[in-house]
Amino acid sequence: MPESIINVSYIVAAILFILGIKMLGSASTAVKGNRISSLGMLIAVIVTLSKSGLDYTWIVAGLVLGGMIGLVAAKRVQMTGMPELVALFNGFGGLASLLVGWSEYEKVRTEGWGVYMEKVGDAMPGQWFLALVIVLAVIIGGITFTGSIVAYLKLSGKIGGTATIFPLQKLINLLVMLGAVVVGCYFITIADNETARFWLWWVIFLSLLIGVLGVIPIGGGDMPVVIALLNSFSGLGAAAAGFVITNTVLVVAGCLVGASGLILSMIMCKAMNRSLGNVLFGGFGALTSSGGKQVEGEMKALSVKDAYYVLEAAQSVVFVPGYGMAVAQAQHVVKELSEILERNGAEVRHAVHPVAGRMPGHMNVLLAEADVPYEQLCEMEEVNAIIPTVDVAIVIGANDVVNPAAIEDEKSPIYGMPIINVHQARSVFVLKRGQGAGYSGIINTLFFRENCRMIYGDAKATVGSMVAQFEE
């Protein structure tokens, strides 16, 4: 296929990606948006395959192998496992960008820099530029890869969710980053030298190291931000690879994803009232016992039967889900309970805090899986406006996002983060497995309040017995 048709098709693909992302912005058009975006990808792939001079033997094998693995993994995963799978795929994408950059370097090296630059002509302002974008593709791809793998391990519980801190960590991280930059610059200056390859290996190694070191000190509650950021990086990595091989569609699509991930991370940070720098370098999550005053009073337990009496009379109920609901897979019984409450005459809402769960919007996905109609899903501001009129707020596995310490206690690590003000409701029921501190380890002052009652036990079982009470 002539180059011009290929380029036009790339433009079509880019348009489809843009339309796709736009349509992902509203629940009614989102499904179509994703399909349109995938059509764009299909066009880009087919058109690339039609390029002259390609040797298809291994390409087919690669496509089939990758396709099968991707499909099987995506089919099998449960909704609770979604965040970590997205993190894993993201990491793969990052590694792919690194490999494309590296691959092009090897090609240039074998062909000879002079010859290659001749061929490329005006597309590159010089050897230094090619070397620069190769280094960028490698660094960004590398950080994305290992960072995403660590995120995957943390989210799936395979390594500890709390922040891993060690002495001199900030200094070491800084040194490694500087190292990567310095070696990268050195590589650029000697790029056409035989020995340059060795230095590129060093850049690769250091980038992989940065990914690990950068993500392990980040505590569980901040993971959504990190994932959004790594998502952005994988896009930037693709864009860098696009500069390496001067391919427009890679640059456009990569940049689109890069920008979208970045703005998402910033939205998350605003929702937690912390700056991005603070999240990435602040070592939050390690401040478990320090900070925050001691709480007085005791946590009062409530039985399901007594809870039933209150719920039966309630006119308005708000559910506040958190990751605990996901773990207990309680979203389906929650939906049953909300239907019962509605039939009983109550107004039911589900309040989702922007950073509840392991990934932004995670709770919404779970509730959607349980067929909770999306009109019942409310954002934090909406709910906070009406919360004083709410009879019962039911907190299921959510913790920090309903902790009044964020408003009241200046020393608390979460101070300043906007929360769902369930403490202002007439009654609060907190469903929790036990008395321990949550994922982030911060004591929740909500539990000690007068209007709060704890219902201990597995969320699914608890809600299930509430449903049973109604059915008697």
Partner: protein, 94 residues
């Protein structure tokens, strides 16, 4: 394609990205991350070119590895996003 045009495209795409995303409600952030993750698999195009070379053995193998990874990213990413999105039903559809 000329570098300056490529850079121009890059900058425009960045602005576009910002505009598109600021309008998405937080409900849809997870499918959005998953969907944009699938798009970042566009690296597959670069991998196809790299792995399709007839010469340059090392380059080809690196490209092939990139191809497998990028394909997993693309296929898995779109499928998972589709699964998530098909669950968003309105009361009317029930």
């Amino acid at each position: 394609m000329e570098l300056i045009l490529l850079l121009f495209t890059f900058i425009l795409a960045a602005f576009l990205g910002f505009e598109l995303i600021s309008k998405v409600p937080s409900q849809l952030h997870t499918p959005l991350m998953s969907g944009s993750n699938a798009i970042s698999g566009i690296t597959i195009v670069g991998a196809l070119i790299a792995s399709g070379q007839q010469d340059y053995a090392i380059s080809k193998w690196l490209g092939l590895a990139a191809l497998v990874l990028a394909t997993i990213n693309v296929v898995g990413g779109y499928y998972v996003t589709d699964r998530m999105l098909s669950m968003f039903k309105s009361k009317k559809d029930q």
